[in-house]
Symmetry: C2
């Protein structure tokens, strides 16, 4: 698990071209047509450098390089570039399990922490930007539920043997630094005074303080943090917000798997659903830009419902199809009676639902009073309006986190959302 | 994590002497006085060969060798001898954390899966035998609560950083085969028809069948199995029944750590308490041998209460002493307010209590209708009397497993035990 440092160098465009020329696995993606390459650096994320490389004959590749610190903060917050190893590993594994929604990896260079992968061509955009623009994606729930059901089911003990499971868990323990980072920024920093926390000040000064002083909230968050750190339920993406998904109206592609490890399934489902809820609350800050967003808000609620309900159906379907396989959590001859199998499945999914609501709520809170914010709110120029949207989202998240055990269906959540009016 | 096979050979007495002579770390334990050694094989356990070696000048050592199958079943049930590596590792780590109650390791040979360790001299006996004999151990609860509090606290995220934790978890994933074995014999086999299951037949035929058809029980057991497989809460002993403890009236020594791994704390606490409850129910089968066992049963109940209550106190004490340390589960500046710290501690201990009751009950059930039984019952010669004791223990365990969430204190458990009369 030791970090591989041999020969690391951060690439610039010139060095990148030299690297491509010297690397057949990459140059072949460009049809070996390496004169007049168009190179564009597009790493708008928080962490890495990302280059789109296009050859004059139309070949293309994305080159992503991790650097040993957090790009948006700088060298003062170091972060191992070994994350690229885990990103490449999970891209390949999740790609094997759900090829339709994970871009192909062409090449990985561990020394350079560099991944060459499929270029997601226009009109692919980051889902979050589409949600801000008010674009409907008719297949989003279908695709994301497919991605989550397949990646989570097939990497869990419902499908895997203990041996396969323990071996994989052991390997991903090497991604400890990114787990630690997530644990800190999601479950700890928002609940204490931290130099990196920020919020829409002065409007939310009191709200941020209230979060830090809410004992019941902090009690619940402690339980979620322990589950995040201790429970190796499946190979999760680890950062599945709406900025980690690229979309067109027909295509859905999940990217940025560097935070992946064996963790609780609800952390992925919650991240995605929680960020859809953030998008929902941000809509009232975007109404003045263009058309009325009422119908779009309904589409978001419908997408939240469909995501969970389809996930539920697909996950149970995979379970039933594979109930006689190698999975060791529920041996088929112990749980062969149909009504008993149904009972354990309902219990499993109910627990997963509550986990997802809890993690989703925690991810919402940290985006409002923690270090990293979301463009859904940040793009609302009027600070007072922005603060109002954020406050409503924050109140909803706190309530959801505390009351999550009392919900039985996703419709209860979307109904509650509908009742929150500005 | 690959198994080391180079040069393994099962030792007999002759080869053992040659080995001792060639191994200074062992021969020095015997004062290098190697003529006229007394060697006695005492492996009465299920798995290994254990030799007591004593020199004529009074030096002594125990040599324990793992063989690549389960001794009591034979080569038809293989089990990696690499378990000795994990046993030695945990003996050393738990010994470092609680030297008073873990025998010292003098030497470990990975190729031979051989551990040389302190000989626990007479009158040390296996605790289970003492419980059958009706012997009171006035310091048992004090010592076992000390062992469990220290080993579980210091290997959890309450004390460890995420880095230390993940590194240790990764290493112990290598003990997958023994985890898989436990998972199968504790959480699966008793709930299905299995060639290895046995029970006091024909008396308990119907009881065993009832266990296999109890849907609610199987639903609860599924949750416990998932927790056992997925939750890396602390470095647990993994097999902490009353046969893994050697005692005198003054000394308590925990042995047989080969099942150790990063798992749920409640599995250790439950194993110990569950086996004390088995001892309790077996007493009525031993009354005819000698004196009345009423007072002894009260002592067992008192020991159960004291074990949990002292564990609780010691564990919280360690937590408070180390609250400003490296532990990342509950950062001190998030949980600094005394009443909030108390609130999270109470929640943590309540969850742990329920986990312990669940695991304890599951361990009881498997000792009555699964592959491995306990001498507490096996030594009751009258099969009808034995079956009656076992049935009462089984009924209690099933009830405890299903109702465990409703208990707040260990006194509620011991009161319920007291009310179960033959």
């Amino acid at each position: 698990m030791a970090e591989v440092d041999g020969g690391f160098r951060a690439l610039d465009e010139k060095k990148l071209i030299d690297y491509i020329k010297a690397t057949p696995a990459v140059s072949s993606c460009l049809g070996n047509d390496l004169e007049g390459l168009t190179i564009k650096e597009v790493g708008d994320g928080n962490l890495n450098f990302v280059y789109i490389v296009i050859s004059s004959s139309g070949g293309s590749v994305v080159i992503k390089q991790a650097i040993p610190y957090i790009r948006c903060i700088g060298e003062s917050w170091p972060m191992t570039k070994e994350r690229a190893y885990f990103e490449a590993l999970t891209l390949k594994e999740h790609g094997r399990l759900c090829a339709a929604h994970v871009p192909e990896v062409y090449h990985f260079d561990r020394n350079l922490s560099l991944i060459a992968m499929r270029y997601l061509e226009p009109p692919h955009i980051i889902l979050r930007k589409g949600l801000i623009a008010g674009t409907e994606y008719p297949f989003l729930a279908e695709h994301m539920s497919e991605y989550m059901a397949r990646t989570l089911f097939f990497t869990s003990l419902l499908y895997r043997s203990t041996f396969e499971h323990k071996q994989e868990v052991a390997n991903y323990c090497g991604n400890a630094e990114l787990c630690r980072h997530t644990g800190q920024v999601v479950f700890s920093d928002p609940y204490r005074v931290s130099q990196y926390n920020r919020w829409t000040s002065p409007y939310l000064d009191h709200d941020a303080e209230t979060v830090r002083e809410d004992d019941i909230l902090k009690l619940e968050v402690a339980g979620l943090k322990s589950m995040f750190c201790e429970r190796s339920q499946a190979l999760i993406h680890g950062d599945l917000h709406t900025g980690s998904v690229m979309v067109t109206t027909e295509s859905t592609q999940v990217i940025d798997h560097e935070f992946s490890f064996y963790g609780p399934m609800g952390f992925d489902i919650g991240a995605f659903v929680g960020n859809l809820i953030l998008a929902y609350f941000s809509q009232d800050g975007h109404t003045n830009n263009d058309k009325d967003r009422t119908a779009y808000k309904d589409w978001i609620l419908k997408t939240i419902e469909d995501t969970w309900n389809l996930f539920y159906r697909k996950f149970i379907c995979l379970w039933n199809e594979n109930r006689d396989g190698n999975g060791e959590a529920y041996l088929s001859d112990v749980y062969k009676k149909p009504e008993l199998l149904l009972l354990v499945q309902e219990k499993y999914m109910k627990d997963l639902f509550h986990d997802s609501l809890g993690f989703g709520a925690a991810k919402m809170i940290r985006r409002i009073v923690g270090v990293a914010h979301v463009e859904d709110f940040e793009s609302i120029a009027d600070a007072n309006l922005r603060a109002n949207c954020e406050r409503r989202a924050l109140e909803f998240a706190k309530w959801l986190l505390k009351e999550r055990q009392h919900f039985d269906s996703i419709q209860q959540i979307t109904s509650s959302l509908q009742k929150t009016t500005p």
